[in-house]
């Protein structure tokens, strides 16, 4: 996917240094392991954290992609795989950030609480292009379920990204691309 400006290349896990360099509005490409999780998986992950139990993946420096992909046709690792609405995960995100999560990817706006938690725990939220699941799936080179397979499309999956395009929507300084736009 072509971008309007040169993209910053990032690979996971994300470090504090990488995060400090990112400003809202910057285009990035992400490579490496990213975990897929959406609504029901978040409820379960949050319940584990509240009970002090370990998560089904290493959350330190991790990035979560809010996605429920379609099943892969033969010869492909994943079907269509664009972002779902990030705001539905707002209630759970601060808890995960506190545990060490460093990045989230979705579409649309985040709550004030998430924005503050991104500053407090030095993390970043990316927006990927909503409704572009066919195009974005080309940047996912591996996908396997690692937890909650009973949730079907909402299972937690370990994905491997290659140059997955996104924009920094909320940075670790409290700025948001959506607020920039409404001011402009």
């Amino acid at each position: 996917m072509e971008q309007e400006t040169a993209s910053i290349k990032l690979s996971t896990p994300l470090t504090d240094q990488q995060i400090s360099s990112l400003r809202a509005g910057a285009w990035v490409t992400l490579s490496g392991v990213v975990y897929a999780a959406r609504d029901q998986a978040h409820r379960r992950l949050a319940a584990l954290l509240e009970k002090g139990q370990p998560l089904p993946f290493d959350v330190q420096g991790a990035v979560i992609y809010y996605v429920g992909p379609t099943p892969p046709p033969p010869g492909r690792v994943i079907g269509s795989a664009g972002p779902t609405t990030a705001g539905r995960m707002d209630a759970f995100t601060p808890l995960l950030l506190k545990a060490g999560l460093k990045g989230t990817i979705g579409k649309g706006c985040r709550s004030r609480q998430v924005q503050e938690a991104l500053v407090q725990y030095r993390a970043v939220h990316f927006s990927a292009m909503g409704g572009f699941g066919a195009l974005l799936s080309r940047h996912i080179v591996d996908s396997r379920p690692i937890a909650y397979e009973d949730l079907g499309p909402e299972a937690v999956r370990r994905l491997v990204f290659r140059d997955f395009p996104a924009i920094v929507a909320y940075d670790c300084y409290g700025s948001s691309i959506y607020e920039q736009r409404s001011k402009g």
Partner: protein, 287 residues
Amino acid sequence: MRSIAFDSIVRTTADLCIQAAYELPEDISAAVRKALQTESSPRARLILQQLLENAAVAAHERIPICQDTGLTVVFAEAGSEVRIAAPPEKGSATLMDAIQEGAALACKEGLLRASVAAEPLNKRLNTNTNTPAFVHLSIVPGERLRLSVLLKGGGCENKSRFEMFNPTESPQTVCRWIVQTVQDAGPNACPPFVVGVGLGGDFEWCCLLSKKALLRPVGSTHPDPFYASLEETLLKDIHALGLGPQGLGGDTTALAVHIETAPCHIASLPAAVNIDCHAHRHKTAVL
């Protein structure tokens, strides 16, 4: 009476769902190409080009445009002279059964996402078939069966609104509320939108009108000049929001506003807004 085979309704429903999931309709791609000519923001133009590129990849690789292949909403118009010929093993199976079977077949055969929770507030177990489909049946004169499928994503459906206004309320006030509803939908509902507006009817009829409005071809206008002019004004006001594609700024916030109207109670002015995302997946067949 004219007989239509149960199995042909199953097949047609499945094909409509799969084609809708994989192929961006021509009315949307034409509207996007038109928007590209007037869009002033370079970022918005780039995103609109990617929208068309995404559609090309989906059609070429035979995968869904969007991973949210939606709830299957079917508007069925059955001619009064049509009878459904079910095979003996299906007994007294009806048109509704055929449509449900077709929607489930589409999920399996087309590798669409199973996006239906069996009930809303307890365990929310996935039905794993992407059914039930939501079917709106009407009986019309004749011996044809018309099936229109809309695959409705959750992100934009979540932004639907309904309001009961006083019957003396001005068109300006109602229009302000419609534009505000679109603004509140914002980046979350994947602009540029198709905005369906229902005015009149009663509570449930008004909501149904707002969904039915989405099925009108993009580029068409309401037959009544008063409502046609409201559609035009609303589209202009929605563009003035500056939300743009993906909510990242630009002139192209909606591709169309469609109003559908019905008579209503003298005490009421019901209004409903149902927003569809740019992956506006609809397909019709006549049997």
